[in-house]
């Protein structure tokens, strides 16, 4: 929990707080109302931040690197100190032209064909988790923690050749960084993600393999080895960005299926609908909201954004804009036209999108094969994460065994 409870939000148009539990519980309704009444909301919290909710505004900001910098992508009360153009976690915190260099040598690890090679790891993980749930014989199971959260952790640990048992540590780091940004103080350097990675990278330097961490250690930019902080930042990014996000998308998809027996039936009886259903889950429950720092004064939707202001990039809001999607507020399981931006837009398109999509598909396939029918044990017991990644964190299901 945060050190200090967040003050109540007086008015979402002028005092929004996406790290408040009320936002976590009600984000879609809040975003929809803002789009109608105040499409570029503002708050004085975090030292000043904006929240545009129209698809066109979100797309414009995502593609404008002159006025908006990625040096800060998670809104905190302070401004990031890591210098542009690299930032803390390249390439997500990098701006052009360095961004393209830092991104390019990662791309081959995350192409659809490279990701095919990890499908078996994901599937085995899912089957092991389901076997454990079945063996437990429990009628009520928290599927967010017993199933969804483990799948991305194991795959990214294997990609980096880090111990799977360290997954619990990853989740603590991620919780601090994403869900309660700037609201925790960690006194012990030995308990930080940076310290953990420093140790692991030093060990790996002595024992290089063909994993992604070794590759980064060996990589060079025009003959120069990457800076230590570059290697560390990119690995931190892969751990932070790949876990909470996929966990959230999978959790939301299962939450939806738990409440919609007709969609469960359609999934099982009509496999051709599955690829469309997955994209609709991603559109409707897009877990990730990014942020930018205003680098040059600019006007968006008639609102004056000034240098140093934050702006959220709400892909969840963009994905439910009726100007961009027909029947935007309805979940249409076989939606044929679906240009959703769950993985962002422009040059910062989520580099792990193929991995995330594969994990989501495999985890849903395996879950639905094992449990074609299930329901929420208690809808009020479901809790949602705060901050810029939104998904269920407690989600008790009643399972027929």
């Amino acid at each position: 929990m945060p050190d200090v409870p967040r003050p109540p939000v007086k008015d979402w148009a002028t005092d929004f707080d996406h790290t408040h539990p009320d936002y976590a519980a009600n984000a879609p309704a809040i975003l929809a109302e803002l789009r109608e009444t105040c499409p570029v909301a503002h708050t004085d919290r975090f030292g000043g931040a904006w929240l545009p909710t129209r698809h066109d505004d979100v797309a414009r900001i995502a593609k404008d690197h002159e006025h908006f910098s990625s040096q800060g992508i998670i809104i905190t009360d302070w401004r990031p100190e890591e210098p542009a153009p690299m930032g803390y976690a390249p390439p997500i915190t990098s701006d052009p032209p360095f961004h393209a260099i830092a991104r390019r040598f990662l791309l081959e690890f995350f192409s659809p064909k490279a990701i095919d090679g990890w499908e078996e790891t994901a599937r085995t993980t899912c089957r092991e988790l389901i076997a454990q749930i079945k063996e437990s014989g429990e009628e009520v199971v928290d599927v967010a923690t017993a199933y969804a959260q483990h799948i991305p952790v194991r795959v990214i640990a294997d990609m980096l050749d880090l111990p799977r048992e360290d997954g619990d540590k990853f989740r603590v780091f991620i919780h601090r960084i994403l869900e309660e940004p700037g609201q925790n103080t960690v006194d012990d350097w030995g308990e930080t993600l940076d310290f953990y990675l420093q140790e692991k990278i030093a060990e790996r330097r002595e024992n290089l393999g063909d994993d992604l961490m070794s590759y980064l250690i060996k990589a060079d930019i025009e003959g120069m080895a990457l800076l230590d902080e570059h290697v560390r930042g990119t690995i931190a990014l892969l751990i932070i960005a790949g876990i909470d996000t996929t966990w959230s998308a999978l959790g939301s998809s299962l939450w939806h299926l738990a409440q919609n027996p007709d969609h469960r039936r359609r999934w099982t009886e009509d496999p051709a609908v599955q690829p469309f259903a997955i994209e609709e889950f991603l559109r409707f429950y897009a877990p990730v909201t990014m942020a930018r720092l205003v680098a040059k004064d600019v006007e968006i939707g008639g609102c004056p954004m000034h240098v140093g202001d934050w702006t959220l990039l709400s892909f969840p809001a963009a994905n439910r804009d009726p100007d961009a999607f027909e029947r935007a507020d309805e979940f249409i399981i076989d939606r044929q036209r679906n240009r959703h931006s769950a993985f962002g837009l422009g040059i910062h398109r989520c580099i792990g999108s193929n991995l995330a999509r594969m994990e989501l598909r495999v985890a849903l396939e395996e879950w639905m094969a094992a449990f074609p029918d299930f329901e929420l044990a208690d809808p009020d017991a479901v809790t949602w994460s705060t901050g810029q990644v939104r998904g269920p964190r407690r989600m008790p299901f009643r399972l027929p065994h």
């Binding site: 240009r339 837009l345 422009g346 398109r349």
Partner: protein, 65 residues
């Protein structure tokens, strides 16, 4: 029907490759490669439209004759 594909707009979302692998491949970095030069075979027209309609970057356009 023809397809116009804008490589500069493509950001490697891979939606076209998933929906229409007969028409799009991906390169080693995950960017799309248009496989068909010229006229789209009529049995693939629906897939071409799907690819165009689902590209988040509007990088694909179908041009009806």
């Amino acid at each position: 029907m023809k397809i116009k594909y804008d490589r500069d707009a493509c950001q490697g979302h891979n939606r076209c490759y998933m929906l229409a692998p007969e028409l799009f491949d991906t390169d080693d970095e995950g960017y799309a490669i248009l496989l068909v030069d010229g006229e789209i075979p009529s049995e693939l027209e629906e897939k071409a439209r799907l690819a165009a309609d689902n590209c988040p970057e509007f990088a694909i356009e179908v041009i009806d004759d």
